[in-house]
Amino acid sequence: MHPAKSVIYFTTASGAGYGLMVWLAVMGAFGFIPADRPFGIVGFGLAFFLIISGLLSSTGHLGRPERAWRALSQWRSSWLSREGVAAILAFGPTGLYALGWVVLGQNTGPVGLIGIAGALMCLITVYFTSMIYASLKAIPAWSNRWTSLGYLLMALMSGAVLILVLQTIMGIGNSMVALKASVVLIALAGLVKLMYWRSLRNSEPESTTESATGLGKFGQVRMIESPHDEDNYLLKEMGFQIARRHTQKLKRFALAFGFIVPLALVAMISALGMPYALILSVSALISGIVGLVTERWLFFAEAKHVVTLYYNR
């Protein structure tokens, strides 16, 4: 599949934003971070920036962005529509929680409960985003059980690293919780990604050129003449081949920068403490961004659409 930059930014950035929002809610509601106003402004500012810029970016690949509001209407059948509706509904409780924290100086008790409700809405939104891809049977690399798990864990993981960096920079609250959460989530997300790749490697393709043409009973089928000389929309959008040529290298790169390096850096924080904590956590974040963007690029670019069976691709 053609990896559209707007969609890569949307899924990684809004995922990280929702993840950060979840951790702001959990850490606030359970009293690990006090309702410090500057921390609230920076934390919610960053979370909302990532979420909103991600959602806006997702409209960037639309042919008619001015009609984007119509995408909210078909929630009964369409995961894309459900995702849009959930994203908007999530702004209610998360916005109230942010106001409670920043304006009222409260993040526990009733305000904390609103925060937890917001966190749930954030997770639902990320799940719905993942289902846009996981529901497409024509793209076997996406329609498997690891897709949604990966999206959820990578959102929670980027949120945990983000809140760890914010806590370390601003020196607010007990950062041990964020540290432990980061270690566990990076390890889990990396593991799920490995399982995802393993399942892709081991799965037999359900559809083949033989089943696509129905000519299997006459032998092995291949296209000998294309309907057109130049690439058409289908081949430009779905016949993307570069990633498949370099899959192994890119997977190692994504695995190293997205999971192994951040895990090692975050694990070292507890051993070394300040002032190394700052350098280590920021480095973990930068490495994680590079790794996760590569991972997401690969998620799109590597996926093979069954229509390519008609074109020998």
Binding site: M1, H61, L62, G63, R64, P65, R67, A68, R70, A71, L72, S73, Q74, R76, S77, S78, W79, L80, S81, G84, I132, S135, L136, K137, A138, I139, E206, S207, T209, S211, A212, T213, G214, L215, G216, K217, F218, G219, Q220, V221, R222, M223, I224, E225, S226, P227, H228, E230, D231, N232, Y233, L234, K236, E237, M238, H305, V306, V307, Y310, Y311
Partner: protein
């Protein structure tokens, strides 16, 4: 509404494509483009049509496949027109977030309301058959309409009320009709020739059917050698005599 019809009609209009007859002339694709570029989903925009990399919206694409059976030492060349199959369980319809994609209750034709399509392309990702193409110029998706503006058009003579690809096919490889009615001509044709659906494992329940190439005749039934015959009417006469014979025969 992008839910599939709740009470679908029994009528399932669709195409039956005979791969035994198709000669791969692309006339169906060309006439489809001709009709539809001024039809319901008009225009079928071309981008850079006379340049180095021409591209454009087509509803019908004719591939040529080769099926090779190494063990038997046989191979078949099959021309294969590919277009929308108007699936009963059309994934392109249910993924649509706006309600632009829909399947008609009355005859099962899958259409797009291009006035509300946002061009998110998700329907083209959901379709296993590559039936939907994006119009870069208009920013919306386009697809085969089964010539909905032709098959019901009372201004046309009855024999013309079939999709453009069907009326133009010079070899009669394409048939149009109600595949929901087991007694219709197309259903009988499918039954007689063991017509099949493409990629049934995708669960889309296509309406269109393809008829497989007939078995190859191998063995005793050899066509007569036409190159062997010679003119023996002149009884071995010389060049001049044969020339005179020809003139006098006229």
């Amino acid at each position: 509404m992008t839910l599939l019809p709740q009470n679908p009609s029994k009528v399932k209009l669709g195409l039956v494509i005979d791969l035994d007859i198709c000669v791969g002339c692309h006339a169906c694709a060309v006439n489809c483009k001709e009709w539809n570029t001024s039809g319901k989903m008009a225009p079928l925009t071309d981008v850079d049509p006379y340049g180095a990399k021409p591209d454009g919206v087509w509803f019908n694409r004719v591939h040529t496949f080769e099926a090779v059976d190494e063990a038997a030492g046989t191979s078949r060349t099959v021309h294969f027109p590919r277009s929308c199959l108007h699936c009963d369980d059309a994934p392109c319809v249910t993924v649509c977030p706006t309600g632009a994609s829909y399947k008609r209750d009355e005859d099962g034709i899958v259409l797009i309301n291009t006035d509300i399509c946002i061009g998110c392309k998700l329907c083209s990702w959901a379709c296993p058959y590559g039936a939907r193409e994006y119009d870069e110029d208009e920013g919306v998706m386009k697809k085969c309409t089964l010539c909905v503006d032709k098959i019901y058009n009372e201004n046309l003579p009855p024999e013309s009320r079939v999709p453009a690809c069907v009326s133009t096919c010079p070899s009669g490889a394409r048939s149009f009709g109600d595949l929901g009615d087991p007694d219709s001509d197309v259903s009988k044709l499918v039954a007689a020739r063991e017509g099949y659906a493409l990629m049934p494992e995708q669960g889309t329940k296509p309406v269109n059917r393809y008829l497989p190439p007939r078995p190859k005749k191998i063995g005793d039934e050899v066509a007569p050698r036409l190159l062997d015959h010679h003119d023996d009417s002149a009884d071995g006469a010389g060049l001049l005599a044969r020339w005179v014979d020809k003139i006098l025969t006229v």
